[in-house]
């Protein structure tokens, strides 16, 4: 798999078009790594000149900030900014809405000014510019619902790019009763991913999975590695894992193109 690093690029005197910010989930989580690879395959197919930071990448600090630890957040942020500024990074794409939100919104105040895109926005641009094509392939005619990640949707008002991509797959896109601005959280945000929920009568991901099951989809599409985990778990709890797949939009496209 062709995954150049910024360091290698620099050694060759090259400046990539875009930095692919992989994120911690995309680097370490077994499920999320598949999303990372799917996205890289698309980038390579579309001949996008990209690079990753590799071992120079570190957590954006998002979970620390949402947990209330501004110190750890700013230390992480400033370290990352120092590295990215040294590489003169201009444009960043990431498959994680949390990384996307933090780098886009909270890094500028700490000296990191970049054009930041969520991978669905980036893929939409590739499509619009004719650098890639999407066909339904094996997904043609399937019933797909999209779960809006909070940090992509409400937090940054990106609702259309993921939907536009899904529709290109010639599928039947069905909306849950709570979608877009009314989308229900998967339960992972605000550092909840890393702790047990407080006492209650239900887990949030189950509540959300029930929303999805109501529209009887064959596939639940997401655009966030954490939403993916939560929805996958929810589908398992509901014993629907043989009927319903939870897939990232990058995976849908890569699979459809048989990459």
């Amino acid at each position: 798999m062709n995954v150049p690093t910024m360091a290698e690029m620099m050694a060759q005197g090259k400046q990539p078009e875009v930095l692919f910010w992989v994120g911690c989930a995309g680097s370490f989580d077994d499920r999320a790594k598949k999303i990372t690879k799917a996205f890289v395959k698309i980038l390579n197919k579309a001949n996008v000149e990209f690079a990753v930071l590799g071992t120079e990448e570190s957590c954006t600090g998002d979970p620390a900030k949402r947990a209330g630890n501004e110190f750890v957040f700013q230390m992480q942020a400033m370290t990352n900014i120092e590295i990215m500024n040294a590489y003169e990074v201009k444009k960043i794409v990431t498959a994680c809405p949390h990384c996307f939100n933090t780098i886009k919104n909270e890094y500028p105040g700490l000296g990191g000014n970049y054009e930041v895109m969520h991978h669905t926005q980036f893929l939409k641009t590739l499509l619009d510019e004719g650098k890639m094509t999407i066909e339904g392939g094996s997904y043609k005619g399937k019933r797909i619902t999209f779960h809006d990640p909070c940090y992509l949707g409400r937090a940054n008002e990106v609702y259309e790019a993921p939907r536009d991509l899904i529709q290109k797959l010639e599928v039947e896109l069905v909306e849950m009763k709570r979608c877009r601005i009314n989308g229900l959280c998967c339960g992972a945000g605000g550092a909840q991913m890393f702790k047990e929920p407080e006492k209650g009568n239900k887990d949030i991901n189950i509540e959300r999975t029930e929303d999805a099951l109501e529209v009887k989809p064959e596939i639940i599409a997401t655009g966030c590695p954490f939403c993916n985990t939560m929805m996958t778990d929810g589908v398992k709890v509901k014993e629907q894992e043989n009927e319903i797949e939870v897939l990232d939009i990058a995976e849908l496209i890569a699979n459809a193109e048989e990459l």
């Binding site: 071992t55 949402r66 947990a67 939100n101 909270e106 940090y151 937090a155 959280c185 047990e196």
Partner: protein, 435 residues
Amino acid sequence: MQYIPNILFAILLVVGIGYFTRNVKKLIRNIKLGKPLDRSDNSNLRWKNMINIALGQSKMVRRPIAGILHIIVYVGFIIINIEVLEIVVDGLFGTHRILSFLGGFYSFLIGSFEILALLVIVSVTIFWIRRNVVKLKRFWNKEMKGWPKEDGNLILYIETVLMVLFLTMNASDVHFQEMHAGNPISRFIADILPSNPDTLHIIERVTWWLHIAGILFFLNYLYFSKHLHILLAFPNTYYANLEPKGKFKNNETVKKEVEMMMDPSADPFAAPAEPTEEEGEPEKFGASDATDLSWVSLMNAYTCTECGRCTSVCPANQTGKELSPRAIMMKTRDRMEEIGKNIDKNGSFQDDGKQLLNDYITPEELWACTSCNACVEECPVNIDPLSIIMEMRQYLVMEQSAAPQELNLMMTNVENNGAPWQYNQMDRLNWKDED
């Protein structure tokens, strides 16, 4: 002797408006106890938001039934209050229906007020049924026990009484009824009133006085009620956050310290700079009491009308957790009221051994938040409960190291190995060669 009613009226007006003004000053003082936050930018967009969201009620109609009924009551109240102008002039100068020289236009005005008054009564009745008969869930959360529940109903009763008084006042006004114009509703009430002109005159006078006294009472009731939103919705939407909802503010004090730590030219052995007099006490990180919050958060708290839309969309609340964004706002307001009364009594705030944290808002509530922004998105007047939750989390973590154990572990991992899990940063690119 004939001026006694005029004098009584003037006294009523001065007392009513005077007491209200005094409480508004207190309100402004309390809000100003919050920390500074600059929201003076982008005034064009702010005006636009205020006109759309507060005046135009654009976010109310996201829930169509409540939204449309609310608009009727709102429009009714604003428009019918034009009539108050006439009442004030009549009251002060002893005139009767001073504006009736407008003729047909006057009839048109009063006639539309009457229709609106009836619509208000109908809407308010439906509101009452939704609260007390249908028992909509959001009006029965646990923070809605006691005063908040009574307050909600009391407002509906006062509004109904004011409308009935207005209509009865018109119905008992013999001269007005004889014009046979502008009385589309009151003519039916006139039919059931006694026909004796003296009795009618008494009814007319009594309802006239009760109507204006009721309005002044309601004005003064606002400060003690959730109903304050009819005024504060305007500044609240004007000063609301314009940035993307996912953008949380970066702490400037932390920024200075982290910059110093990362500066290669800084002398690690240098003695820390003596705090200058201007700096005073070292700044507290985050918020443990209401006055640690920004003035915008405090204004948010006073603006909240406890409709509970935020709580009804909160993922934590829907799954039975302690957290309710509405309760966060109500508790912040209640604590501010307590602080305000403390200042009224003692001249300046004297430590009462209480804080917003623990005494009002528990860590359990704060840790249940997923920061999903559903509450912020939902609020019809752009209140932001999330920023209060985040400020208080900062206090728990940075001042008290009181995060849940798993979060401490996560933060240690981020600090030590650059990921929330215990993986080595050097393994970050391993995925490339895995199958």
